[in-house]
């Protein structure tokens, strides 16, 4: 990996940040982790540690944000899920009511692993076409096995290709965010003086629907929607 820091330097910064965390110097720990992230040498481990540091410090919003980013970057892990659960348990907000059903495609994307699907698709796609070419070259009596293998690979490649398309679509259209502000007011209209509908607090995961000016329209997991200050949330 080539980056701003050499691997040794990055490791040194990481370890020093960990030592700062161990002696409860959370400010120094955060500075170390953020230095790595800002120079393109982050990754799920650094994000996890940053989120854990925020959580230990009591900054619930940034803790959930970093942990969610760690999960997005590296997938689920037991320690990550435990700290996320702890952060959720500390949240002020309790979203009640029936959970609004996501559309099929976002749910499908959430249920499958994007990189795995993408690599599966590419592999089977290329291999299937290679077998087709081989099939053409072979004499009529020797084509059967190659033909069957090609069909099987196409049977995998086509659905995985559709899944890749789903991930690409969801990634381009669905934007999740975390509330950072201790208290964020959701209003009826994207205006500062508009009627307040509800309040959310740090750490709550919301969906960003649209943006206008300094307001974004957020949607809660139960479907509640309102316009909130853009600065009060951060995209995952």
């Amino acid at each position: 990996m080539s980056g701003y820091y050499t691997p040794e330097e990055a490791q040194d910064i990481f370890l020093k940040a960990n030592e700062a965390y161990a002696r409860e110097d959370y400010a120094a720990a955060k500075e170390g982790y953020e230095k790595l992230l800002s120079n393109g040498q982050g990754g799920p481990d650094v994000l996890y540690n940053l989120g854990t540091t925020h959580l230990a410090q009591g900054d619930l919003g940034r803790a959930v944000l970093a942990l969610e980013q760690a999960r997005k970057a590296g997938g689920v892990a037991p320690d990550l899920e435990a700290n996320l659960a702890l952060a959720r348990a500390r949240q002020v907000d309790k979203v009640v009511g029936a959970t609004a059903e996501d559309a099929f495609l976002p749910r499908l994307a959430a249920a499958t692993d994007g990189p795995v699907v993408a690599w599966t698709f590419l592999g089977t796609w290329v291999a299937a076409f290679a077998l087709v070419l081989l099939w053409r070259v072979l004499a009529p009596g020797r084509r059967t096995t190659v033909g069957i293998l090609a069909v099987l690979l196409f049977a995998i490649a086509v659905p995985s290709g559709l899944l890749v398309a789903t991930h690409a679509y969801v990634g381009a259209t669905v934007h999740e965010a975390v509330v950072l502000a201790p208290t964020l007011v959701a209003r009826e209209l994207p205006q500062a003086g508009a009627r307040s509908i509800f309040e959310v607090h740090a750490g709550l995961k919301v969906r960003l629907l649209e943006e206008t000016g300094r307001f974004v329209r957020i949607r809660l997991p139960n479907g509640l929607e309102g316009w909130a200050e853009r600065d009060g949330v951060a995209g995952i």
Binding site: L15, G42, V126, P140
Partner: protein, 627 residues
């Protein structure tokens, strides 16, 4: 020794007494109050209400309180007159009348004893009402009914005995049991040591008092040497910093008695214990007229009885008196990791500082640390009493329900002359998992973690913040695979390749048709395909069609290879052409064989499947390897 007093003083005192005798008659300032000996009693206990009136006329009648909630079991009345001569001023006469009611509550609750009343010269005085907490059954104390064992009904005789005892206690500090003898030679000023009793049990309190009896004016007491109290544990009860005398008459002679020291002493061994005399240096007179004298008190002896048999072995001698044991827990429901404070309190009358409360023990799941001990000692009627508190820190080691067993404290009650046991109730502690802890630990194991399983467990509760990671793979912010630059080219490359191959094949086909050799190869390829079609007819019933197809395929192949039409050529002409084109004898033979077989087959022969297969193989062999 020089006498420092004079008969003139006595005359003056008597005169002053006569002059002030009717002083109370003109006074409206009446001291009138009532007290109870306990604030908490049981319905089976008796208690005493003392109504005191000071300086009341002799004809004044005290109206004792009447209430439906209390029964008056007995009543007694006593009066005391004291005459004080101090500082050469007029004598002060004080009449104190006490009426002691032995009462019993009829029901439990917070009850109020109404005020007592007295009417003096048409004016009615009332005391304050007294509130009592009454509980069902017995609370403690030495009720006569408990000693007689007759349950709720009080025994009138034992009640009388109790009343006498109570009277003795009530007036113990006022009724001076000491009868000093005037020593020869020191009759004006002598030191007197006295005991409130001379026969006690081991561990029972004796009160030692040291007085100066004087008929002369005292200036100061310069030094006091208390007796050597070997065989006793001592506790200071009273040590006045100023001389304050009271009038006493000894053998008809009035004296001023000054208390120097009063100590509670607890014998630690049985037998007759001697108390050596005390000594004091006393200065008499005023200013330059005074002088210093040395006085030695009388020696004393105490007969100490051993504790009667029937008690526990090795009972400490401090475990004598009247004690009550209690156990208080700061909380009975606690989270794992949170400490619980358990206070074991032993309170009562006796040698508080030497008494040892029972040790708190519990199941292994509760770690009990060494206690801290605190004492609160006080005196009431010269009796040492108080409480000793042992405060334990108990740290639960695992979740579950655990019981602190009851505690017992055995002591000898010298008043009842028997051994008693003070007990506490067991206390159950419920230990739950802490916040964020695994709920299954508390819910699932609560049954199994009771006292039955007392083995030590290392409790590992899930929850809490997971630690940071100490190894990291550093990576730039992830870009989805489908957004990376190679994805679309790799996706489209196979399609393009296939398309390219197809196009190339088409182009090559078109190019091949433009040359003789190319056309030959195309014809040869078509001939091979025709032979493959003929294979399908091999097993059919139309023998002629099979042979016709084989012949056409072979003719097509030969035309492609020889570059000329071969239909119509004789077998010899065909053999020559084949020879000329380089075909070897074997290939030529197979070609001719196949053509002969096809001619034969088309006209009715060659129906045998084996024959057809042979022709098919020969045709394929003739085409094989001929570029």
């Amino acid at each position: 020794m020089r006498r420092t007093g004079s008969a003139l003083g006595v005359v003056f005192a008597v005169f002053a007494l006569l002059a002030t005798a009717p002083a109370w008659a003109a006074s409206d300032d009446l001291d009138f109050y009532q007290t109870v000996d306990r604030e908490e009693v049981g319905t089976e206990d008796t208690f005493r209400l003392t109504v005191v009136v000071v300086d009341a006329p002799s004809n004044a009648q005290v109206k004792v309180p009447e209430s439906d909630d209390f029964a008056i079991l007995s009543s007694s009345r006593s009066s005391q007159r004291s005459i004080s001569l101090s500082g050469g001023g007029p004598a002060v006469i004080q009449d104190v009348t006490r009426q002691v009611l032995t009462m019993q509550a009829k029901r439990p609750g917070r009850l109020k004893i109404p005020p007592s009343e007295i009417t003096v010269r048409g004016k009615t005085y009332r005391t304050q009402p007294v509130e009592l907490t009454v509980r069902a059954g017995r609370v403690g104390g030495p009720p006569a009914s408990a000693q007689s064992g007759r349950g709720r009904q009080p025994d009138p005789f034992s009640s009388l005995q109790s009343q006498m005892q109570q009277m003795e206690e009530a007036f113990g500090d006022m009724m001076e049991p000491d009868r000093p003898t005037i020593p020869r030679g020191d009759s004006d000023l002598f030191l007197r040591a006295s005991l409130d009793r001379d026969t006690v049990y081991v561990g029972e309190q004796v009160t030692l008092s040291l007085y100066i009896y004087s008929r002369v004016d005292l200036s100061s007491v310069d030094a006091v040497t208390m007796p050597k109290l070997e065989g006793f544990w001592t506790e200071e009860v009273e040590s006045p910093t100023q001389l304050s005398g009271e009038q006493r008459v000894v053998d008809g002679i009035p004296y001023r008695a000054y208390l120097l020291r009063r100590r509670a002493i607890f014998p630690v061994k049985s037998g007759t214990l001697a108390i050596t005399p005390a000594e004091a240096d006393i200065t008499t007179g005023f200013l330059f007229a005074g002088h210093r004298v040395h006085r030695v008190s009388n020696p004393l002896k105490v007969k100490v009885k051993p504790l009667p048999p029937g008690g526990p072995k090795d009972l400490p001698n401090a475990h004598v008196g009247s004690w009550r044991l209690s156990m208080d827990v700061s909380q009975t429901q606690v989270e794992l990791g949170q400490p619980v404070t358990v206070k074991v309190t032993l309170e009562g009358v006796g040698n508080v500082k030497n008494v040892t409360p029972p040790t708190l023990k519990g199941p292994a799941a509760l770690k009990i640390y060494e206690p801290t001990t605190s004492d609160k000692v006080s005196q009431q009627r010269h009796r040492v009493q108080g409480r000793r508190v042992m405060e334990y820190l108990v740290m639960p080691q695992r979740t579950g329900s655990f019981t602190l067993p009851p505690l017992e404290f055995t002591y000898f009650d010298p008043r009842a002359r028997k051994y008693e046991v003070a007990r506490t109730d067991p206390v159950t502690l419920t230990v739950e998992a802490g916040a964020g802890g695994a709920s299954s630990l508390s819910a699932g194991t609560s049954q199994g973690s009771t006292d039955a399983a007392n083995e030590q467990k290392n409790v590992l509760t899930a929850g809490g913040l997971r630690p940071v990671r100490y190894q990291a793979k550093f990576a730039a912010p992830g870009v989805p695979v489908w957004q990376r630059g190679f994805f679309v080219p790799v996706l489209l490359a196979p399609l393009g390749l296939l398309l390219g191959v197809a196009l190339l094949g088409g182009v090559r086909g078109r190019m091949a048709l433009r040359t003789e050799a190319g056309r030959g190869r195309q014809q040869a390829k078509a001939a091979r395909k025709r032979l493959a079609d003929a294979e399908k007819l091999q097993s059919g019933s139309n023998v002629g069609a099979f042979y016709g197809e084989v012949e056409k395929a072979l003719h097509g192949f030969l035309e492609a290879r020889l570059g000329m039409p071969v239909v119509g050529l004789t077998r010899e002409a065909l053999a020559e052409r084949l020879t000329a084109s380089g075909a070897d004898a074997e290939r030529r033979g197979k070609v001719l064989f196949v053509l002969e077989a096809c001619d034969f087959g088309r006209y009715g022969g060659g129906g045998d499947p084996a024959e057809r297969q042979k022709v098919m193989d020969a045709a394929a062999a003739a085409m094989e390897g001929w570029a």
